[in-house]
Assembly symmetry: C2
Homo-oligomer: 682 residues x 2
C-alpha cells in the first residue's frame, strides 16, 4: 500500500463465469484482437468487423490514473467520468475556489487545468510474444522463472519502443501466464481538465446510491490531451451522438477493466475468502471511519479528503460484494462445478495436476501474506520516498535485472508521477500513515520483528507525525534533486522519510523474492497449464481475466427482474428533483436548481446495459452499432458486486450516464457552448 489514493478508480463488477452457461450470452471482457464476432452475430444478428474494431481501438483511451475514456473530437477532447478526474479537480482546488463544489468549465483552452500524474494512452498495435517469453522461461522454476520472464519482458518492451517520449510498450500476461502480448501505445503525458460538473451532481446519492439503480448521476467530465503545449490532433475519435439509448439496442463498452479472478481455482478463491478479504473489510472500514470524523472537523478537511473517502467507500462496497459472493454457496457452487468440469476433461491418471501446484503455492503464501501486505505503510509522501530509494538502486542495474516496475519501459511514467507537482495534504497523509502502521502492528502482532522494524520504539501516531512533519518531499524540486542525484543523493539524504524508506527496503525486497520463489513462479507455471487445458477443452471461447488493458464487451440496453419487478432501463433528468430530500447526499446540486426550467426533464439521465465490466472500466465509452458514443459507463448495479468471480447476464448490469444528459448539462446546466460546438464537429 504505497498511496493514500488507494482506490482512485471506481471498481465495477459482474457475476458467473461458467464456460457452458447459455444465460451468460453477453459475458466477456474480450481482447480487441480476439473479439468473438461469430458468437455475437449468432445472438444479435450482427457483429462488428475488423475495421469497426480498429476504428474504436484508435479512439479508446486508457488513463493511467486507473480509468478508461475516449477521444470525442479531432482536437484531443476526452470523455470520461467525473470520479476519474475528481483527484485532478481536487488538486486544482483551494478553500476559496473549491472546484469539486462548483464544477469547472474552462472558458478558453488556455484555462484548461493540468492533471498531475495523469497520462492518456491509445493502443496502436498488439503482437503475440508468447513463444519468445515461454522460451526464455524454459524449464526454470520458482524465482528463476520469474527473473527470466521479467528479463525477457524488459528486453521486448525496450526494443519495441525505442522512442519513449510518445510511445509506451507493455507486455501483458494473459490467462495468468498462458499468453504474452506486446501492447504498444501512443501516449500523451499532458492531460488537462476541460469541463466537470459539481461533485454534488456527479455523486448525487453518494455512497447509498453507489452500485444501485435507479441512479441520478452526472458522472461525466471532459479532459484534453496536449503535446508541446498544444491540443493533440486526434482524427480517430468517436462520433458524439447526443441521443437517448433505445431499449434492446446493441451496445459496446470499450475500456480497460482492471482485474478479475474468474479463472482462479478454488484454492485461490479460498485464500481470498479466508485470508485476504476479511483483512480488507476490517482495515478499509476503519480507515473510512477515521476519514469521516476527520472530515467533519472543518470544510477544508472535508474538501481535502472528499475524493479519498469516495474512493475508499467505493472500494469497500466492492469488497463487501466479494465477501458476499464468496460466502454464498449457490454462487461458489457454480464456480466449483466449472472447475470440476475442466478437471474431468483434463486430468488423467498419472498426468501432471496444475491444481495441486496452485494449492501448494497458495498454502505457501498463507505463511507470509500478512508480512507482505503490511511491509510498508500507506501515504503519498512515503510512496515518493520508497520510489526514490528503489529507483536509485534499480537504475544502476541492467534493464533485465530490475525490481518489478522499474524497467526502462516503466520508468518514464514512474518519473512523471514522482515529479509532477500536486498538492500534498499533510494531515491526510499523516492520518493515512498512522492508520496503516497501526494495522501493521495489529495484524503482525506487537512482538513481530517486522513490527519492530516498522515502528522501532515509536507509536504509529508519533512516527507518522514525525515523518510527515519532518520530510521535505512534498516539494517537487526536492524530489527532482533526489531523483537526479541517484544512489549518492539517496545515501546522503537525511530527510526522515527517505531514511525511513531506506530502513524498510531490504525487508520488502526479501518478501518480494520469497513471493517470486514460492508464489508467483509456481502460480504462473500452473496457470499456463490451466490455460492450455481450457483451450484444449473448450476452444477459443474463453476470454482472459482482466489486466487493465483494452477489452471490448458487447451487450444491450436492458433492465432486469428484481424481487419480481422489472427495473426500467433508464432514469430521466426530472427524477433527480423527485429523489432530492435536501439532506446530503440527496441534496440538489445548485446548478440543477438554478436551471430547472431550462432542463428537459424527459432526457435520459442514466441507463443500464448487459455489458460485462469491472473497476477500471470507469469512463469507458458506451458505443452503438454505428460506432458513435451514447454514454459513459460509471457504475454497476448491486448484483454485479460479485463480478470479480463471475457474470450473470440475467441480473448484472452496467450503469452509464447518457450523452443525452451530458448534452443537456453542457447546454443548460453548466453551459459550455464551445464544447457543444466542438462535440457537434462545427
Amino acid at each position: 500500500m504505497s498511496s493514500n489514493r488507494i482506490a482512485r478508480a471506481a471498481a465495477f463488477l459482474s457475476f458467473v463465469s461458467l464456460p457452458l452457461a447459455a444465460a451468460n450470452a453477453d459475458e466477456g471482457m474480450w481482447t480487441i484482437d480476439a473479439f468473438p464476432a461469430a458468437k455475437m452475430k449468432a445472438a444479435y444478428g450482427w457483429a462488428p468487423d475488423q475495421a469497426w474494431l480498429d476504428k474504436v481501438r484508435g479512439a479508446a483511451v486508457r488513463l493511467t490514473g486507473g480509468c478508461s475514456a475516449s477521444f470525442v473530437s479531432p482536437d484531443g477532447l476526452i470523455l470520461t467520468n467525473h470520479h476519474c478526474v475528481a483527484g485532478c479537480t481536487e488538486d486544482n482546488s483551494t478553500d476559496a475556489n473549491n472546484l469539486l463544489k462548483t464544477g469547472y468549465t474552462a472558458v478558453s483552452r488556455e484555462r484548461e487545468l493540468k492533471c498531475a500524474g495523469q497520462q492518456a494512452e491509445v493502443v496502436t498495435s498488439i503482437a503475440d510474444v508468447t513463444p519468445r517469453v515461454k522460451a526464455a522461461i524454459g524449464a526454470a522454476k520458482g524465482e528463476a522463472a520469474v527473473k527470466a520472464r521479467s528479463a525477457v519482458i524488459a528486453d521486448i518492451e525496450k526494443a519495441g519502443c525505442a522512442e519513449t517520449a510518445t510511445t509506451r510498450c507493455q507486455v501483458v500476461s494473459l490467462y495468468g501466464g498462458g499468453q504474452y502480448k506486446l501492447y504498444t501505445y501512443r501516449k500523451y503525458s499532458d492531460v488537462r481538465l476541460v469541463w466537470t460538473p459539481e461533485a454534488q451532481a456527479a455523486q448525487f446519492g453518494g455512497d447509498p446510491d453507489n452500485f444501485n439503480f435507479p441512479r441520478y448521476s452526472m458522472d461525466a467530465s471532459f479532459l484534453r490531451a496536449y503535446e508541446n503545449g498544444k491540443p493533440v490532433a486526434t482524427p480517430q475519435h468517436l462520433k458524439w451522438a447526443a441521443r437517448a439509448p433505445i431499449d434492446g439496442e446493441a451496445t459496446f463498452v470499450v475500456g480497460n477493466p482492471g482485474s478479475t479472478a474468474r479463472l482462479q481455482t478454488q484454492a485461490q478463491l479460498a485464500f481470498q475468502r479466508e485470508v485476504a478479504l476479511p483483512i480488507t473489510l476490517a482495515t478499509f472500514s476503519e480507515y473510512r471511519g477515521r476519514l469521516i470524523t476527520a472530515m467533519a472537523q472543518s470544510p477544508e478537511r472535508h474538501r481535502e479528503a472528499f475524493e479519498t473517502l469516495g474512493g475508499i467507500e467505493n472500494s469497500l462496497k466492492v469488497q463487501i460484494g466479494r465477501v458476499k459472493a464468496l460466502g454464498d454457496p449457490a454462487f461458489t457452487g457454480k464456480l466449483a462445478a466449472a472447475e470440476a468440469d475442466l478437471q474431468r476433461r483434463t486430468l488423467t491418471a498419472g498426468s501432471a495436476n496444475p491444481w495441486t501446484e496452485v494449492d501448494a503455492a497458495m498454502r505457501a503464501y498463507r505463511n507470509f501474506y500478512i508480512a507482505r501486505r503490511f511491509s510498508t505503510p500507506s501515504g503519498d509522501l512515503f510512496g515518493y520516498a520508497m520510489t526514490l530509494v528503489r529507483a536509485a538502486a534499480e537504475r544502476t542495474k541492467p534493464n533485465a535485472d530490475r525490481y518489478p516496475g522499474y524497467s526502462d519501459s516503466s520508468l518514464p511514467l514512474v518519473e512523471k508521477r514522482l515529479l509532477d507537482e500536486r498538492p500534498i495534504t499533510p494531515w491526510l497523509d499523516q492520518l493515512t500513515m498512522d492508520w496503516s502502521l497501526s494495522k501493521s502492528r495489529e495484524y503482525l502482532g506487537a512482538d513481530d520483528p517486522q513490527t519492530k522494524l516498522l515502528l522501532g520504539k515509536e507509536s504509529p501516531e508519533a512516527l507518522a507525525a514525525r515523518l510527515v512533519g519532518g520530510t521535505k518531499l512534498a516539494d517537487p524540486a526536492v524530489r527532482k534533486t533526489l531523483w537526479d542525484g541517484g544512489q549518492a543523493a539517496i545515501a546522503a539524504s537525511t530527510d526522515p522519510m527517505i531514511v525511513y524508506a531506506r530502513t524498510l527496503d531490504a525487508n520488502d525486497r526479501g518478501l518480494q523474492k520469497r513471493f517470486d520463489a514460492e508464489v508467483d513462479g509456481p502460480l504462473t507455471a500452473a496457470q499456463a497449464k490451466l490455460a492450455d487445458a481450457r483451450f484444449a477443452a473448450y476452444g477459443a471461447t474463453q476470454y482472459p481475466d482482466a489486466t487493465f488493458t483494452l477489452r471490448v464487451s458487447y451487450g444491450k440496453v436492458a433492465g432486469w427482474m428484481e424481487r419480481g419487478q422489472m427495473v426500467p432501463t433508464r432514469t430521466v433528468l426530472a427524477g433527480t428533483f423527485d429523489r432530492a430530500t435536501g439532506a446530503d447526499p440527496f441534496d440538489l446540486p445548485p446548478a440543477f436548481i438554478a436551471n430547472r426550467a431550462k432542463i428537459d426533464g424527459r432526457a435520459t439521465y442514466d441507463f443500464v446495459t448487459t455489458n460485462d465490466i469491472i473497476g477500471g472500466n470507469s469512463g469507458s465509452p458506451v458505443i452503438d452499432k454505428s460506432g458513435a458514443v451514447i454514454g459513459a459507463a460509471f457504475d454497476g448495479n448491486i448484483n454485479s458486486l460479485g463480478g470479480n468471480y463471475g457474470y450473470d447476464g440475467t441480473i448484472n448490469r452496467t450503469v452509464a450516464v447518457s450523452t443525452d444528459a451530458i448534452q443537456q448539462a453542457l447546454e443548460h446546466i453548466y453551459p459550455a457552448p464551445a464544447l457543444v460546438a466542438e462535440l457537434r464537429g462545427r
Copy 2:
C-alpha cells in the same frame, strides 16, 4: 443496538466442541448443579464435592454490567477486573480529576464511589422448571409457542421472588430450549468503587497485546456491595491467597460466560459466516475509526471515549477471531463431523429431522435479519427513550403478555439502569447515533421503507445532531418524571428523542413478532429436540451453551506450544519494565516508575490456565483446590478466539492476573493498607 456501551465487557474465548475428543479434557462451562466430578476426578485424581461447590457459589458474583467477580472479604468486598469497572471509573472522572489516568484508592469507606447502573448478584438456588415450561408450550408453534413460554416464565419468576428489593428470579433456557432452570439471586443494587489502578497499568500493551500472551496487565479492581448505605455482610467469601500459581496445579474459574454457539448447527454457523459476521466486521471497524480520530482531537475527548473504544476494539478482535475460525476448513470440518456423528446416531428413516427445521428457520431469518439488526439506532440517549416508550406501554399489560425484557421480574433492573445518574457525553452519543443510522441506510438501502422511517428526509448527521442536541433525557430527573408518568406522559412528551422512539416503536415490534414466529419459535422447538438427541446419544456429558449464568470450568496452570516453542505459564512484574518502549500503549504507568525499587520483580504478574472461558467471564476468580482465590481471569490467548464455536485444550488458554501481583500493587504501587488488612482478614 441500543447502547453505545456495546461491548462493556471483554469477550474471552476458546476452541473445539467435539463430544468425543479426548484432547479436550478440560473443555466445558459447566452449570454448578451439574459439575462433572467423575470426569474431573478421572483426569486430576481429585474433584470438588458439593460442599466445595456450594461454598464457591455463595461467593461468586455476577455484575449486571456484563462481568463476573467474587466476594473476597466478610464486608462485601468484590474482586473483579479493571476493565469491568472502567465505565464506573470514567463516570466518576472529570477533566481535572481523571481517575482512569490516575487510578483510585478510596481512603475511607465514605469515599467509595457509586457505580451507576451496576448491580451485584449471587445465586442462592437453582430449580428445574423444565416440565412446567414445556407443558405450557405444549403443542404450540411459532409465535404462539414463544408467547406461551414467555408467559409461563414471567409467572414463575414473579412467584419465585415476591420480594424484589433484594432478590431476583430468572428462568434460564439451557441447551437452546432443552432445559429451563429457575435461578434465584440475592442482589445488591448499590455497588461502589474501592480501588482501581491506572488504566495504563491495566491496559499496558493496549489493543496490540489484547488476546495475546505474554501479558503484563494489572487488570484488577475492587468494588464493594452496599445496602441501606452500609457495606453488606458477606460471610460466604473466598479466602485471599496472595501467592504465585504453581505450574500444573488445578484451577477453577467460576463466573458467567456470556454466550457461545457450540451447539449450533451447520446452518446456524453458515448464517453467522455468510450474513452476520461480515456486517459486524465492517461496521464495528468503521465505528472504531470514527472514535480514534474523534479522540485525537483533545485530551477530554480521549478520556470521554477511552472505555467505549476499548470495548469496541476488544469486541472487534473477538469477531475477527470468529471470522477466522469459521473460515478455516480444518476447524469447521471438525464441527461438521460432530454434527454428522449425531445425525448418524439419531436420524432414522421417517423420523422427524430437527436439522431441517433449523435450516428453515435460518433461511427465513435471512429475509429480515438486516431489517431487524438495523431497526433502531445506537446511543445511550436513544436507549433511554426507547426504554421509556416501551416500558410505559408494557407496564399497562398483564405480566404474562409483555415484550421481552419488561416482565415484573425484569423491571427493577430496567428501572435502575434508566434512573441511575451517570454522565452522558453528547458528542459521543451523537457520533454513535450518526454512525449507526448511516449503517442502517447503507445496509437497508436508501430506498427501503425502513430507511425512510429512520431518516425521513434528514441525513444521519443532521438527525443525530438534532435529537442529541434537543433531548433532555440526559437529566435523570426528566427520565424519572417520564417513567413515573407512564403512558400519558410518553404520549404527551415533545422531547425529540421520545418522539423519535415513538416513531420507531411499531416497526420494531413488528420485526420482533416476525422473529418470534419465523425464527425463535421454530428454533427453540428444534433445539429442544436436538438437546434430547444429544442426551440420548452421549448421556450427560454435554454442557449447555453459555447464557451469562453461573458456570464452573476446571483446568490447570499450563503453557502451550506455539510455533514449536513452549510458552511459559507466567510473566513476572519485572517484565513490564523490559517490555516498555515509552510509546503508547507500551509506556510505563507512572506509579510503576515511581515505585520500581519497592516492587518484587519476581512476583508472578499474569498467568495462563487451560480453563474454558469466554466473554462475561471477565473478573471471574481463579480458585485453587482449597477454594482460595489466586487470580482474576481477564483475557484469553490468541488461539482462544474461535472459542465461541469450540475449545481446543492443547492451545486455548485463559489469562489471569495473579493475587501475587495484586498484593504487590496494594502494598507498593498503589498503596492501600486498609484493603490489604481486610483481605488478610485482620
